[in-house]
């Protein structure tokens, strides 16, 4: 009995997290009513049902060749798919190389570790960089693409820029956090040996954060490939471009070929990055 009395009792076995889950469900219900959604809207409309049936029916037989007769002189269908995959990867790799450079620079400048004991001017610069990075990543890559399309016109380099800019902002934020959260033991040891702040940062801190940073950068490369595929919807000749074109021409079997190509690309990259992460982070 004494034990029973000593134990603090709560009227409901719900903690803060429980209330939080409840609040989320309420928010979901509010969104449902604001958007004026009906369950019936989930069923395909009249024409949509036919499209859905035909589209999913085509899933098991992706096109291996053009569905209609190819225009004379057109490259074989397989080559088109492969070239689209290649261009998708090329845009992503080029964009990642840019954003990795910019992200590293901005990430170091945004981190607390770099500015430790460096005075007020440094703090101002640090927050300036943080604000810049936040601005870069707050605008979606597709919106950057729309802006660049308006400013420059259609050019592959604008697609690369559109991906590189927000990705650099994201990398800067994550890199700076990783640098600040890296174990400080090695840096402290170097300090007691009389190393300069730059040496401590470069040889004490960076090596500890590097595996995480590399794993994250690779994960972002995966994301960049997806983004690059979607940029095709805006006229850049990546997977999305051909996917949209085939869908609008009602060539659903071709659509599935492009979807499977994208799927294969993502799965391969994910397996690769998963293996890298398991080796070097966990």
């Amino acid at each position: 009995m004494a034990l029973e009395a000593a134990r603090p009792r709560r009227p409901f076995p719900v903690g803060r997290r429980g209330w939080f889950l409840l609040a989320l469900l309420v928010a979901g219900a509010a969104a449902w009513s604001f958007l004026d959604l009906r369950v019936a809207g989930l069923l395909p409309r009249a024409g949509g049902a036919a499209i859905a049936a035909e589209f999913f029916g085509a899933a098991l037989q992706p096109a291996l060749d053009y569905e209609d007769a190819a225009p004379p002189g057109a490259p074989p269908f397989g080559a088109v798919v492969l070239e689209a995959v290649g261009r998708t990867v090329a845009f992503a790799a080029a964009a990642m190389s840019l954003s990795l450079l910019a992200g590293l620079l901005l990430g170091v400048l945004a981190s607390d570790s770099w500015w430790r004991r460096r005075g007020a001017a440094g703090r101002v610069l640090q927050w300036g960089v943080r604000l810049l990075a936040a601005g870069m990543r707050s605008v979606h890559e597709l919106l950057w693409a729309v802006l660049f399309l308006a400013a420059f016109g259609l050019s592959p380099a604008t697609a690369v820029l559109a991906i590189a800019l927000p990705y650099a902002g994201t990398l800067a934020k994550v890199f700076s956090e990783m640098l600040d959260e890296a174990p400080r033991g090695a840096a402290e040891a170097l300090r007691s040996l009389g190393a300069t702040p730059a040496q401590r940062f470069l040889f004490g801190l960076v090596p500890r954060a590097l595996p995480d940073m590399m794993a994250y950068a690779f994960y972002r490369f995966e994301c960049a490939v997806r983004s690059s595929a979607v940029l095709g919807f805006f006229g850049f000749e990546t997977l999305g471009y051909f996917l949209k074109q085939s869908f609008e021409n009602l060539h659903y079997r071709e659509v599935w070929s492009y979807l499977y190509a994208l799927l294969a690309l993502v799965v391969v990259l994910e397996a690769w990055s998963g293996r890298l992460r398991r080796r070097f982070v966990a």
Binding site: R16, A93, H140
Partner: protein, 320 residues
């Protein structure tokens, strides 16, 4: 003091030898080296293959486009016609925001909220089925014990279940939100559902996978103890797995919410009334001044969601 001074460091030659010895026994991995080489080659190829033509961007024509964009098209119409005053700018911006921007912002916000809640529910439901330590003939027991207790078929069946769940998650998340929205729009017709579903599907795949990984990374102590007491799988889930993984799952939930807000803006460009729809509309009418304003509004919303999610994450992390 002199007695307990650190030993005198060895002379230069010896230091070099020791550092060399340390260097030789550093951890090395052929997989990492090959991966880095492959990535470097990929990057070099991407810049030199001709797919990315940087020179094209440096042409005179492009500079002309940019100049026209900055000095004419992107300048708000009333200012272009009557000259700049702050008042005119504020009036124009206020008018556009009141007329369409506010509606777009609200719709974007609600689409993202409903999508992430749906994704969270589905993802949480998928998570335990993809966890290979729970989906076993004898969950959470050490590997050796399992062999003696279960038939081969039972073991294969459980393994197939987790493999199927993980494959389903890959299929859901490998297709980008924008592509899902594009496909769903053709089937369901205009409305908010295609946008909501597209975001929910993609994020359910991601949350399901992250959830499964979280369950797999649980320390086996508590669940194993419960199991030894004879708890069933559902009881393990309710009394060990869920309480232990919930904080982590909520963190992932908020992390995905941030991306949901970004994407909710963008899928509107396909024809769903969110900010993206107004962006696309301004683009079609060549009103780049309004386009710029809507993009800025979307950026502000994403920024606000980022901050809110950060606060909420900290709040949940520190919860009792």
């Amino acid at each position: 003091m002199t007695a307990d001074r650190a030993p005198v460091p060895p002379a230069g030659e010896e230091v070099r030898a020791r550092v060399g010895a340390l260097h030789r026994c550093r951890p090395r991995s052929r997989f990492l080296r090959i991966s880095l080489l492959a990535l470097a080659a990929l990057t070099a190829w991407s810049w030199t293959s001709g797919a990315v033509d940087v020179g094209d961007l440096l042409q005179e024509r492009r500079a002309g486009n940019l100049h026209r964009f900055l000095t004419e098209e992107a300048v708000p119409l009333p200012i272009r016609e009557h000259g700049f005053t702050w008042e005119r700018l504020a009036q124009w911006a206020g008018g556009v925001v009141a007329d369409r921007g506010a509606r777009g912002l609200a719709a974007t916000l609600w689409i993202s909220v409903l999508a992430i809640v749906l994704a969270g529910v589905v993802g949480a439901a998928l998570a335990p089925f993809g966890a290979r330590n729970l989906m076993r003939a004898d969950p959470f027991l050490p590997r050796g014990r399992e062999a003696g207790l279960a038939t081969r078929a039972a073991r294969g069946g459980w393994r197939a279940l987790s493999a199927a769940t993980r494959t389903a998650c890959i299929l859901l998340r490998a297709i980008p939100e924008y592509v899902w929205a594009f496909l769903l729009l053709a089937m369901l017709g205009p409305g908010a559902w295609p946008a909501v579903l597209a975001l929910a599907i993609h994020n359910a795949g991601i949350l399901g996978r992250l959830g499964s990984d979280t369950v797999e990374n649980l320390g086996p102590g508590a669940p194993r103890a419960l199991r030894m007491l004879g708890a069933r799988r559902a009881q393990l889930l309710a009394y060990a797995v869920l309480p232990m993984t919930l904080p982590r799952l909520l963190l992932y939930f908020f992390y995905r919410y941030e991306t949901c807000v970004r994407e909710a803006t963008v899928v509107g460009m396909l024809g769903v009334v969110s900010l993206g729809w107004f962006i696309q509309d301004a683009r079609a009418r060549l009103r780049y001044d309004e386009l710029l304003l809507f993009v800025a509004l979307g950026g502000a919303l994403v920024f606000a969601a980022d901050v809110a999610s950060n606060v909420a994450r900290r709040w949940v992390r520190d919860a009792a």
